[in-house]
Structure formats: structure tokens, C-alpha cells
């Protein structure tokens, strides 16, 4: 990872190779940030200010080493977006294998925990900062087949709220963005299942696909100075809680 000028703000974004993570990485690059991104595979973004690390977000040692590398090379973390997560078709809770539970807990919950733990320490060395965790509208909707997914996302919300209290003395805000259905590889896969997409859209207050740009705009506000006193909140996009 190459060094970057210390006066350039740094956004750390997990799961930045595709979907929302990639869209947010490109958005923050366009805003003039250096972006430290990660995914299991190689980078899909080519930009002088983009720094990619291939890692397993559910592996504590991987995430710890990545945070150290960012701290040493980029010197700072102004924005941290914990985005990486699994979104897969699942069964009713009564039929969900333990292996599915473990996968979701490892990536969606432990991965966010490691990310927030390690990068909050980097952030504490700076002058404030912004943490955004990506959750889902499936938490308030409590839909069939999402027991494990929704539980991990609810856990992310609770964890972020606690962190908001812990980091407030440092001027760091921590919030959650919970978008409704977006067009991603994962939802495209799920949409192959008959009328799944129409059923999900019908649950939303705005029964349409949410554009990634809309989520980036919400993030823009949360990272702005105008939102310096907003912390521990959940911004639902597309549904009424």
C-alpha cells in the first residue's frame, strides 16, 4: 500500500469490489478522498487514490493487519463504512442449517465488529471521524426466511449505537444506513427465484429499487460537518420503520 499525503481525507470501505461498497468507494474517490478498500478478491477499481487489500473480513487477524497497514501507510481514517456482508437466499428458521448461521455471524457480525474495533482505534488518533455501518430494512420488516440475516443486521445496529456512545467524547459519530432493495449481484441472484423481487418491493414504503446514489447521498450528509451532532441513528431508505 503506497503512502498518501496526510492532508487527504481517508475513507475506509469494506466490501469495495462490487455492489454498494464499490459504488461508495467510487463516490468517495470522486469527492477527493483516498479510499482504503477490501474484499476477498482483487481490486475492481483502478484509481491512483484507491488502495485495495484482499482479505477475509471475518478473520480477526486479517482485519487487524489491514487496519495497521492503513494506519502506517495512509496515516488516518476519517470515514469508516462497514459495508461487507452476505445476502443470500435462506430458509425458514426451522430449516436453517447451523452452517448458514455461522457464515452470516462470521461475515455480517464479526466482520463488522473487527472493522469497527480496529478502525475506531485509528480514528481516535485523529480529530473526530465518521463511522457508518450498513444494515438493512429487513430488520424492521421481519420477513420470512431472513431470521439469521436480520439478526446479524440488528446486531450491527446495536453495536453501532453502543460505539456511538463510546466514541462521542472523541467527536466521532457512528450511524447506520439501512437501505431497502438495491440492484446488486446478490439481489440479482435472489431475483431469479420467481416473484421474490416483486414480493420484497411490495413490502417497501417506496416499492421500487433503491439507487446506490441515494445511499451515497445519505452517507454524504452523515460525514458532513452538518451532521456532527447526529450519532447512534438509523437512516432507513425506502421504508418506514
Amino acid at each position: 500500500m503506497a503512502d498518501t499525503a496526510e492532508n487527504i481525507p481517508v475513507a475506509v470501505i469494506t466490501g469495495s469490489s462490487r455492489g454498494l461498497g464499490r459504488a461508495m468507494a467510487e463516490h468517495f474517490l470522486a469527492k477527493g478522498y483516498a479510499v482504503a478498500g477490501c474484499s476477498r478478491g482483487d481490486a475492481t477499481i483502478e484509481h491512483a487514490a484507491y488502495h485495495h487489500t484482499a482479505l477475509d473480513i471475518g478473520d480477526e487477524a486479517d482485519v487487524t493487519a489491514w487496519a495497521k497497514s492503513v494506519r502506517r501507510n495512509l496515516k488516518r481514517a476519517d470515514v469508516v463504512i462497514a459495508n461487507a456482508g452476505l445476502a443470500r437466499a435462506a430458509l425458514l428458521l426451522s430449516m436453517t442449517p447451523g452452517e448458514v448461521l455461522n457464515d452470516f455471524m462470521r461475515v455480517n457480525f464479526a466482520g463488522v465488529f473487527y472493522t469497527l474495533r480496529e478502525f475506531s482505534k485509528v480514528m481516535m488518533r485523529g480529530d473526530g471521524g465518521r463511522v457508518i455501518a450498513i444494515s438493512s430494512t429487513m430488520v424492521p420488516l421481519s420477513q420470512d426466511g431472513t431470521a439469521v440475516y436480520s439478526a446479524t443486521k440488528a446486531g450491527v445496529t446495536s453495536m453501532t449505537k453502543v460505539l456511538a456512545r463510546e466514541l462521542a467524547p472523541q467527536g466521532i459519530t457512528c450511524n447506520v444506513i439501512a437501505p431497502a432493495m438495491m440492484r446488486t449481484d446478490a439481489t440479482a441472484e435472489l431475483a431469479k427465484d420467481g416473484d421474490w423481487e416483486q414480493r420484497m418491493l411490495a413490502l417497501q414504503t417506496f416499492p421500487r429499487i433503491i439507487e446506490m446514489e441515494e445511499i451515497c447521498h445519505a452517507a454524504d450528509f452523515l460525514v458532513s460537518d452538518k451532521a456532527r451532532s447526529i450519532t447512534g441513528q438509523v437512516v432507513y431508505i425506502g421504508v418506514v420503520d
Binding site: T64, K68, K121, M124, R125, E166, P169, Q170
Partner: protein, 100 residues
């Protein structure tokens, strides 16, 4: 291998640096019985100050040893996560073992 005295000196340098920068509210002495975390901890070292101290100490330890070392509380002999009290002496012993 870093001796216990050298480890305590490194901790003192770190604490002094954090005091000078205003991160800690006051001076903290890195003496073997000084409680760094838990009941009875020095009032200048609050929870956020402790986290910053450990990170700064990791950096200084890595710089002095040439290795990328991490301080993991649950690896410290004599530290019980269920009754978390950490003294400077126990941490100094751990730093010695890390650099062995």
C-alpha cells in the same frame, strides 16, 4: 529481549508523550504497581486514554524491536478478562515476553 525495566521505561516514555499531547489528563507513573486499567486505575488514564496508550505503545514497541508486534490483552499472563485489572508490572512482563 527487552528487560522489565526497559519495558517500564518504554511505557513511561509513551505515557509522558500522551500527557504532553494532552491525550492524558495528567502525569501517570509507570511503576510496577500502577494500575493502568480496572478498579483503582490512575484517574488520568480513562478508557479512551488506555486504548490510545496501548496503540502508541504497540507502535513504539514495533519500532524498537523491528517486528510488527500487537498487544492482545487476553494473551497477558496474570490478566483476567473477567476481573480486568492490569498493572504496569504485569504489562511490562508481557512486553518482555513479546520481544523474547
Amino acid at each position: 529481549m527487552m528487560s522489565k525495566e526497559e519495558a517500564l521505561a518504554l511505557m513511561q516514555e509513551t505515557l509522558d508523550s500522551l500527557t504532553r499531547s494532552g491525550t492524558l489528563k495528567g502525569e501517570v507513573k509507570a511503576e510496577p504497581d500502577t494500575i493502568l486499567m480496572g478498579t483503582g486505575a490512575d484517574g488520568s488514564l480513562d478508557s479512551l486514554g488506555f486504548v490510545t496508550f496501548i496503540m502508541e505503545l504497540e507502535d513504539r514497541l514495533s519500532d524498537s524491536s523491528g517486528d510488527d508486534l500487537a498487544i492482545v490483552l487476553t494473551d497477558i499472563v496474570g490478566f483476567d478478562i473477567n476481573s480486568p485489572i492490569l498493572t504496569a508490572g504485569v504489562l511490562a512482563d508481557h512486553l518482555s515476553s513479546l520481544t523474547a
